[in-house]
């Protein structure tokens, strides 16, 4: 269970938001929405532990994520705004590195399968700098396929991808929730995860 109370985030002197609270049970997902610049990405970074909140604590199963450290990161999968792809490496190599960092060693078939799931089978060996924005996004999202992390934190996962990939993605999230995982994502559009009603967290200034 992921909980946070009275979370505040400051950028330099400026307070982005305060008093943000939520409790997410396993199998639930949270849609973070709000105007541009209101701090959606900053909130996700706080949840991951990439930056520290000005006030409040993020807890996983009752323990502060700072105290959990590596144990927390084992449960976490984060896909940020920047897809984390090295342009010189192919989709397959990028996915292999990302999996290895997440602590799994996928076989060649598993990698091919994950890329095929997102419609990248024919692009698997192309350096990712030659891919379109949407295809790069798909490569990043292919990490979700074999992931056994309990918490998915996705920053604007629906941006730049087409209708087919959108369906695959909501299918992946839905299956993840059914396995008892939980997800936090940001989006400016309404998000529909089949069979799961999400909590909405609207950030305001």
């Amino acid at each position: 269970m992921l909980t946070f109370h009275d979370l505040a985030c400051a950028k330099g002197e400026r307070l982005l938001f305060k008093g943000v609270r939520c409790a997410l049970e396993r199998g639930a997902w949270l849609h973070v929405s709000g105007a541009n610049g209101v701090g959606k990405t900053s909130l996700l970074r706080l949840l991951c532990g990439l930056s520290q909140p000005a006030a409040g604590v993020v807890r996983w199963d009752g323990e502060s994520i700072n105290a959990l450290g590596d144990a927390w990161r084992r449960n976490l999968l984060y896909i940020g705004h920047d897809s984390g792809l090295q342009g010189m490496l192919s989709a397959r190599e990028n996915l292999r590195v990302a999996s290895s960092l997440a602590g799994v060693q996928p076989s060649d078939e598993e990698l091919a399968c994950a890329l095929a799931r997102l419609g990248l089978a024919s692009r698997a060996d192309l350096p990712t700098r030659f891919l379109s924005q949407g295809q790069k996004r798909r490569v990043a999202l292919a990490r979700l396929v074999g992931s056994n992390a309990a918490v998915w934190v996705l920053d604007e996962p629906f941006v730049a991808i087409d209708g087919d990939a959108l369906q695959v993605l909501s299918g992946l999230i839905s299956a993840h929730l059914e396995r008892g995982g939980l997800a936090v994502l940001t989006s400016h559009q309404a998000v529909d995860i089949p069979g799961h009603r999400g909590h909405l967290l609207e950030l305001t200034r």
């Binding site: 990439l50 897809s83 010189m88 490496l89 590195v97 290895s100 960092l101 602590g103 350096p127």
Partner: protein, 225 residues
């Protein structure tokens, strides 16, 4: 293979792959070293005694500058494309990734200096014994440059004008390596025992190899906040 070793091997391989596919980046600092070291014999003229006298210092300064030139690449690309966040969020300690990246940096930017240094020494009429000693001193010293430089590269991530700042920050820290690296060759040429200098270089390398990646991880976390 344990998890840490696996990540170390994967990240090392990744960085070497990237370097191999961006050969021009790698060659740039090496060519810089070659050109800087070649300018001096051209400017000073063919006086053997003088060239021999200044060679160790010039070659070592050239190696230092070439190393600084290559430092910025260490984390900048990963910072720009978001890979660095993934490394920080990995359940494997960041220390492992940083150590792999430091080793990769040395293999790509440091080892070529070690190999090319003695060749450049020929322009200065250095004798075979001095050339060998120069190579040994570079072999011991250049890893320290990568290790200490990593801390600076991590601290100046995302800073405007980071390249110049990095040089200002890191070059003073390179002074001991310069003194004992060039000193070893000079001492030998003067008929003294160079082993003291080399041992001191080794004494910088060992704690550096242990503590510098640790300091780099701390600096990376600060830069990412």
């Amino acid at each position: 293979m344990s998890g840490e070793l696996m990540v170390f091997a994967t990240m090392l391989r990744r960085d070497l792959q990237i370097a191999w596919r961006q050969k021009s980046d790698v060659l740039m600092s090496l060519v810089f070293f070659v050109i800087v070291a070649s300018l001096f014999p051209l400017a000073i003229g063919p006086e053997t005694a003088l060239l021999q006298r200044i060679a160790p210092g010039i070659l070592w300064v050239g190696a230092l500058l070439a190393a600084v030139l290559s430092l910025q690449r260490m984390f900048a690309g990963d910072h720009a494309d978001g890979s660095l966040e993934q490394m920080v969020l990995s359940p494997t300690p960041l220390y492992v990734t940083v150590a792999a990246k430091t080793v990769a940096h040395w293999l790509v930017a440091g080892l070529p200096l070690v190999l090319v240094g003695p060749v450049l020494g020929l322009q200065f009429h250095l004798e075979a014994r001095s050339l060998g000693l120069l190579m040994v001193s570079l072999l011991l010293g250049t890893p320290v440059l990568s290790l200490v430089g990593g801390v600076g590269a991590a601290l100046t991530l995302g800073v405007r004008g980071g390249g110049v700042l990095l040089a200002l920050l890191i070059l003073p820290l390179y002074v001991p390596v310069l003194i004992f690296g060039a000193g070893a060759v000079e001492a030998d040429a003067a008929g003294l025992d160079p082993s003291g200098h080399l041992l001191l270089l080794g004494a910088m390398l060992v704690p550096g190899a242990f503590f510098a990646p640790w300091a780099t991880t701390a600096a990376l976390r600060i830069s990412l906040e």
